[in-house]
Amino acid sequence: MNIAREHFRQPLGRTPFHERMVALTTSEHWATWNGYKVPRIVDKLSIEYFAVRSGCAVMDLTPMEKYRIEGRDARAYLDRLVVRDLAKLRPGRVTYVAWCNDEGKLIDDGTLFQLDESRYRLCSQHHQLDWLLMSARGFDVGITVETHDVAALAVQGPTSYSVLSEAGIACLGDLKPFDVTRSDCAGIPLTVSRTGYTGDLGYELWMEPGDAEAVWDAIFAVRGRYDVHAMGLNALEMVRIEAGFVMPGFDFNTAEATVRNDHDRSPYEVGLGWVVNLDKGHFCGRKALAAEKARPPRRRLTKLVVDGNRPVGEAFVYAGRNGKQVGEVRCTTWSPILKANLALADIEFINGKLPEPLWARFDYQRELKWHTAWAECHAQSKPFYVPAHRSLTPPARY
């Protein structure tokens, strides 16, 4: 019997854009994402960060989990799966969703695309096939993993509209935030959505893996007229914190991967209460979430602006300097555009309220010597960075 046994020589998969990424990378700083080899930094972090915020950055999204959900009961199935009211979702629209287990604890979040009347695409951070199949009991619905069959590219930044138009993708001007449409790029069919994880103007392109390099080349062909850079995961981490987006598995434990009691989190506890609609009819976790909502809040993943310019890294948060320890920093970044030290922290409430003032105690190294420092933290309710150009339709032309 002749079985291809050479796969082990390449334990990490290569996305259809990989050769193009290899050609561009100077840092060779790679990471694993969902079994694929992807850049953490392609060239220089600051260049990639500023490409998103003031130019155009291109990121390979292919490793993101993608599921095709279709069939007679697809809508009813999704309504029962996610905590959000899908009444307004229609073909050609995308919505941000989250889903919970029976106890109302978050399993994952993602974007849900309605491609036509009974066909959807769900994109998520973590592998969800088991949960999606378990949830399918009693529904006439087909669920297919299409992670490896659809190449995906995020094109993000203030000039992304101009870049993509210049690269030959028509009708982008009419595309509103969270729209999705069929289009083409110099004769190559693709799907375009006005979505992203950067908090800036941006698009995501979905295509056959075989067409991936041609689309990439069309986009990078406008270099010279526009500043276009490939981007890695590190820059994405910076901009998503600025935009106030949470990362399941990093900012909170996903429920079905949590062992210890009370280490999982509900949508309310990570600031996704606005996604939950308790009045839309039955969905998984509804009863538990309704009970939680009736109680005073116990904790929140809180957006913090930390005084000073030292990144706090891993830190405890206290109610007052030298006060009671009330939380932990989950992620942190220095925001070059805001000139601010940002963090998301899991904070226990006291008597149903966010304790004040909040101080972070953190350790930092200077010439290998460790120091301990305190910095006051200021809680924010809004995302740190929301540029006006992000939601203009049609977007500004550059």
Binding site: A76, Y77, R80, L81, N101, D102, W131, M134, S135, R137, G138, F139, G281, H282, C284, G285, R286, K287
Partner: protein
């Protein structure tokens, strides 16, 4: 029709018990039954021309004292039957008769005869120790309400003080064991051991060597605390319970199969019958198998994902078939006088034979030498057959629900195997047969709605008992659907003709004002 305060789905005995308690508490209760008469598995069913047989239960203990007095069942015509003995049939006619305090038969060792009464007393004491757990809703393990603390306190008292130190150690030693080892430690006589083992495994997909069979035996023995086992005739119990429901103002509607339990906004709002009629009520109590209640009547889409999946993992595969015979006269069993035929007869030569018969059903086969429990209910209730005629009822194990090749193809061969086994002990039986009926586990599923034809709506194994019965999330009669409760054999304390699931459920419903 006026909107009832509560709808009970299924007029099996637990449904009737629950309905009677609710009606006596002042609720307007409507009991809906799919079949054309109340009683479920316990109801008598017609056989041939002019005969009736008493459903599935054959030899059962009377209802507990509490239910009898609380529902005034004696006033409604209930009377426990005459106590009977168990006779283990022997191919060489060395039959063994086992009573409550005595065991007798050719070739029985003196030591075994002497040990039996004390052994039975000890295990009855163990069953008595479990009484607080069995007669109350299963207690929570965390955030105990006061009633649950009482249950645990009584259980602890009964175990430690009621049993005493030595007996408590013995109880803790054996309670998780299999009946095979315990009996081999105690007795030599194969017939005696087989008879006890049958009580531990009949109705379950378990052999004597299956862990947990001491517990299943204790659950059976528990019934005998309030009275010795009698031959079930299918009439008096069901009629008395029906009268108890109606006397308290409850209504009973037969031939009204429920197709769906209606749920609005997470709350039960009524039921829809198969003919489309809807009946509204904010309190729905299901005596139906939990697997069917949740998977079909409510439907997985209206439940949470993990719960809906756990429902599908409830274990409970029926392995007992039923053979009913109408006879033109009293049959003759070799070596057994006519006077003895009113007893419960067993064909189970040894524990090894039971285990071997069980092996077949694990692999989708019927045992060619089935284990049989035989009764002649018409001896106790002559109304079941015309004058001078009789009905004979046989529970035959092990016959798996998922028979290879299906029951349509396998039914006749299985029935023949039972008849052939009977003929070894009653050679002239076949000539007396006027009519016969064979109910496979698949027929039991179709006729009584018990999923996979399991008597107890789910195996009485340790992992599906007490606060895990029928499953995590619905173990205290309330369910994730507000206003929907369970009251059947699938709930704690399980199957058998005890009425306890119905009584416990009613208590929970009344204690909580119908809220979960």
């Amino acid at each position: 029709m006026t909107r009832p305060d509560a709808i009970v789905i299924g007029a099996g005995h637990n449904g009737l018990v629950c309905a009677a308690y609710l009606a006596r508490a002042g609720l307007d209760v409507l009991v809906l039954e799919a079949n054309d008469a109340a009683g479920g598995m316990a109801a008598a069913r017609p056989l041939g021309d002019g005969y009736r047989v008493p459903g599935l239960p054959q030899c059962v203990a009377p209802l507990g004292r509490a239910i009898r007095s609380e529902l005034e069942l004696e006033r409604h015509g209930y009377a426990p039957g005459r106590p009977v003995e168990t006779i283990v049939l022997d191919p060489g006619s060395a039959h063994l008769a086992i009573g409550q305090d005595r065991v007798a038969g050719d070739g029985l060792a003196q030591a075994d005869a002497a040990a039996w009464p004390g052994f039975r007393r000890q295990y009855l004491a163990f069953a008595e120790a479990l009484r607080p757990l069995i007669e109350n809703p299963p207690p929570r393990l965390k955030n105990l309400p006061r009633g649950d603390r009482m249950t645990f306190a009584k259980l602890g008292w009964k175990l430690r003080v009621g049993l005493g130190r030595e007996a408590m150690y013995e109880f803790l030693r054996v309670v998780g064991m299999n009946i095979y080892d315990v009996l081999n430690d105690t007795f030599d006589d194969e017939r005696l051991k087989a008879a006890i083992a049958i009580d531990a495994v009949l109705g379950s997909a378990m052999g004597p060597r299956t862990p947990g069979t001491v517990l299943t035996w204790l659950q059976r023995l528990y019934g005998e605390l309030d009275g010795a086992a009698t031959i079930h005739s299918g009439n008096r119990l069901v009629e008395a319970l029906t009268r108890a429901v109606e006397a308290a103002g409850g209504r009973l509607r037969c031939s009204a199969p429920v197709a769906r339990i209606l749920v609005e906004d997470g709350k039960a709002s009524g039921v829809q019958l198969e003919d489309g009629e809807t009946i509204g009520s904010g309190l729905v109590v299901s005596n139906v198998d939990p697997r069917r209640t949740f998977a079909s009547l409510v439907g997985a889409p209206r439940l949470d994902t993990l719960f809906a999946n756990r429902v599908t993992q409830i274990r409970g595969k029926g392995v007992v078939a039923k053979l009913h015979l109408a006879l033109d006269g009293l049959p003759e069993f070799r070596g057994l006088g006519a006077a003895a035929l009113g007893n419960r007869l067993l064909v189970a030569p040894s524990m090894r034979d039971i285990e071997r018969a069980f092996n077949h059903c694990k692999y989708g086969e019927c045992s060619p030498e089935p284990v049989l429990e035989i009764t002649l209910p018409s001896i106790h209730d002559p109304s079941l057959a015309p004058d001078g005629h009789h009905v004979l009822s046989v529970s035959a194990a092990f016959m798996p629900y998922d028979l290879d090749g299906g029951w349509e193809a396998g039914r006749e061969a299985a029935a023949r195997a039972v008849l052939a086994r009977l003929a070894q002990f009653a050679p002239g039986l076949e000539a007396r047969i006027v009519a016969r009926e064979f109910l496979s586990p698949a027929d039991i599923e179709a006729g009584y709605g018990a999923v996979q034809g399991h008597w107890h709506h789910g195996e009485l194994s340790l992992h599906q008992s007490f606060m895990l019965r029928p499953l995590y999330g619905a173990a205290r009669y309330a369910t994730p659907v507000d206003g929907l409760f369970l009251c059947g054999a699938g709930c704690h304390p399980g199957g058998g003709l005890t009425g306890l699931p119905g009584r416990n459920a009613a208590r929970r419903i009344l204690d909580t004002g119908g809220r979960p």
